[in-house]
Amino acid sequence: MNFANLSWPWLLAGAAGLAGLLYVLQQLRIRYTEVAVPTAMFWREAARDAPVRVFRRRFRHWLAYLLSLLICLLLWLGLAEPRVDDPEGGQYHVLFLDGSAHMSAPGDLERAIERVRDDLRRLPDDQREVIWGGARNLKLLNAGEESLLFDRRVDGLVPEGAPSAVADQLDLLALPGAYPEAVRLVIYGRAPVSEEALDGLPENVEVQRAQGPEEPVPNRGIVAMGLGTAASGRWDTVDVLVRVASAGDLSTLPGDVELSLDGAPLSGAVIQDAPPDGFVLRDIPAAGGLLEVRMSEPDALPADDMAQLRLPERRELRVAVSASLGSVLADAVQADPGLLLAEADPEVVFRRAGEAFGGDLPAVEFAPMNEQEAAFEIRYTGNLDAESALRDSLQGLGLSLIDGAGMAAEAGRPVSVQTSGGETRSISVWLELLDERFNFTASRAFPLFVTRTARWLTEEDAAYAYLAAGRLAPEDSSEFALTGPGDSATRLLGADLPPARSGTLEAPGGGLSYPVSLLSAAVTTGQTGVELPAFAPAAAGLAGPSLLALLLILAALALLAFEWYAYQRGMMP
């Protein structure tokens, strides 16, 4: 036996409280009703054999007390709404209320909440919990908590601009010992479940969906947005890729979107198709602006109708090269349109180690091989671990392109990259690498190394592709190699986790804000994954609780009527 509205301890405590209260009331019922009679002489004689009750000795109406107690207990039981024990055979239920962008169509979430509410009445309190599946999974109702709390906690919740995190819940279910022996995950909503996720579950875990298969909502939205180096070769512009997907009968056309840069319509942009469902905006100025792409026609799912991208800021960098290094570096700087060889007011300098040239300015220093163990010594700032810093250095500074083996052979010792943390960024390189015999200055990696080290030292990071809710991976394709540092970008922003939901991510300590867009093909196209069995609580559980509670209350009312009858007839005091 379980109760829909009360747990056993509360029920027993309430029953004991009622019994005590009624006892005290019976004890304290000492107010006499004054009645005038002509036959007091008879009453006096009758009372001689049955003295009046006095406090603590007058509790003589046990039957009346028991009748009152029975009525109160029946009402209390009825209000607790008892249920026939466990129609679900002892299975633990995790009710997963989908609060992701999948549920942002009007009415979807309300229907799911109503269904959860219905099912909570049918499930034992101690064998169920409710999870809010928004950007992150949160427990709305613990096992054993009163079902009434659900209404309070779900109040005000709205679908979040994030893909479903049901996969995280499935991962948790797969952990041994995380849940009881037999557990059933019931999904209330459209959150898709992949075949792989189901295959990874142990046998004691079932996954069902509360509603039957639902048709995807006719919808159209932006599912990817990223940027890359301008194909035109211009250093101060980027190309932007936008992909649009649709579900239902809606088609996608480039003309279906509106473009704006820093709030103003973006006119004159060259747009090229990028089949199957995308297009590329060519030569968008890389001046740190906010590029917004918005669907012209709103539809059922507003969450994916708009995406934003913070464009990188590419500016000409003033660089000075020490004369002691020869002309090879100065030539490389002059060849880069983004760099300006300037004697006056440089921002970055290239110099020999120990030179005073450039003072405290960020510098790339060249030291003799016999004074420096590693070919490249890189000092980075921030909280990166050494491994991540090394990976970023190899890719971000173009070091992955150098002919390390050749240089090592020439040097007669290993060519390595050493990273360490510090308060300012700095790079120290073997001086000998500037010799022609190392073939470094003639390699394709050299100009990339020069330009990227200069920009890295001024802490001008590479552009990132986009920030999408719930994931880190940059968009990548064979056709458009979008530069996306991914986790580097989130580290830059000081976040340890991927941005949970669409919106704006503020950089720590102020500064730029970074837009986070939904960009989820699963949400936009209404993917439901594999078809799941429908969840249907046992029929006995469906009819049992309310009927039993009704019967109890009716029985209490019948006893109440009997008590009134008995009182009227003088059968009880």
Partner: protein, 303 residues
């Protein structure tokens, strides 16, 4: 609580009085000394119904000598006739507070019964006197006869007002002290004298009069469970003395009460039977006339 007595118009119901015409009150033998009427007296003398012969003695009415016997036997005898006289009826009506209690007070029935008995008595040429009592005895109307007297009886009855406690013992003793001519004393009361029934019966035993006891009792007197306010723990206050009794109304105490009331009634009945008194128990919550009709079996009560 207390209710006013009905007015003359309210209880002087001619239809009610007419329906009493077939009823009569008969004493078996009354004491001589009254005027000629219809009650059979112990005296033999001037009457209409022959009773016996007796030897003539000087002074006898010579008109009663039976000359046929004288011719046949040579003895002078005179005829003796039954002498019928009036019966003095003394109505003693209780006007204590208990008679004025509840919505349908007993006094209403008491007045009706008193008027009915007065009407019956006067119709058979008896004399009727009226007394009221509570904690003192008052003579409201001296004995007199004649149909015209009925209205005066009604007027005096209507003048009765609630007063004090029931002291029936003193009232009976007071009547006794008046040395009235022996007759019929009609006591109309609930008999709830705080002195107790034993004292009441003791005083009734001492009276020289024949007795007609009319006990008035209500349904709630018999079974108080019928009252809506008699529930749970109650403080019962006597409507006359004001004394209180705290009672927890359990089925047991209700049963005990009913037994006490039944015993009270039984003792009253037994007394009446044992002392040749007539006894009427009238339920004041029911119509009076059918109860009277049942009491006047064959149209008469013989005392």
């Amino acid at each position: 609580m207390g209710m006013a007595a009905p007015t003359v118009d309210e209880f002087f119901d001619t239809e009610f009085l007419t329906s009493l015409q077939g009823f009569s009150l008969w004493a078996r033998r009354i004491i001589s000394g009254g005027r000629h009427a219809e009650q059979l007296s112990k005296d033999k003398g001037a009457g209409l119904e022959f009773a016996d012969y007796k030897a003539y003695v000087p002074g006898d009415d010579t008109r009663t000598i039976d000359w046929n016997i004288y011719r046949r036997l040579g003895r002078v005898v005179v005829k003796v006739f039954e002498e019928r006289q009036e019966l003095p009826v003394y109505l003693l009506v209780d006007r204590s507070s208990s008679m004025y209690f509840e919505d349908a007070p007993k006094i209403g029935v008491a007045l009706k019964v008193a008027l009915a008995l007065a009407s019956i008595s006067l119709s058979q040429h008896d004399s009727v006197g009226l007394f009221s009592f509570s904690d003192n005895l008052e003579m409201k109307l001296k004995n007199g006869s004649g149909q015209g007297r009925l209205m005066r009886v009604a007027e005096r009855l209507a003048e009765l007002e609630e007063q004090g406690a029931t002291e029936l013992v003193q009232a009976i003793e007071g009547v006794e002290r008046l040395r009235l001519r022996r007759g019929l004393l009609v006591v109309i009361s609930d008999f709830y004298d705080p002195a107790g029934l034993d004292a009441v019966l003791g005083s009734l035993r001492q009276t020289r009069h024949r007795l007609l006891l009319v006990q008035l009792i209500g349904n709630h007197d018999l079974d108080p469970a019928g009252r809506r306010d008699m529930r749970g723990d109650v403080r019962l206050r006597d409507c006359e003395s004001g004394e209180a009794v705290d009672v927890s109304l359990t089925p047991a105490i209700l049963a005990s009460y009913r037994a006490i009331v039944n015993d009270f009634n039984e003792r009253l009945t037994t007394f009446a039977t044992g002392h040749g008194a007539a006894f009427l128990r009238l339920n004041t919550d029911e119509d009076v006339l059918p109860q009277l009709a049942a009491a006047f079996e064959a149209g008469r009560i013989e005392i």
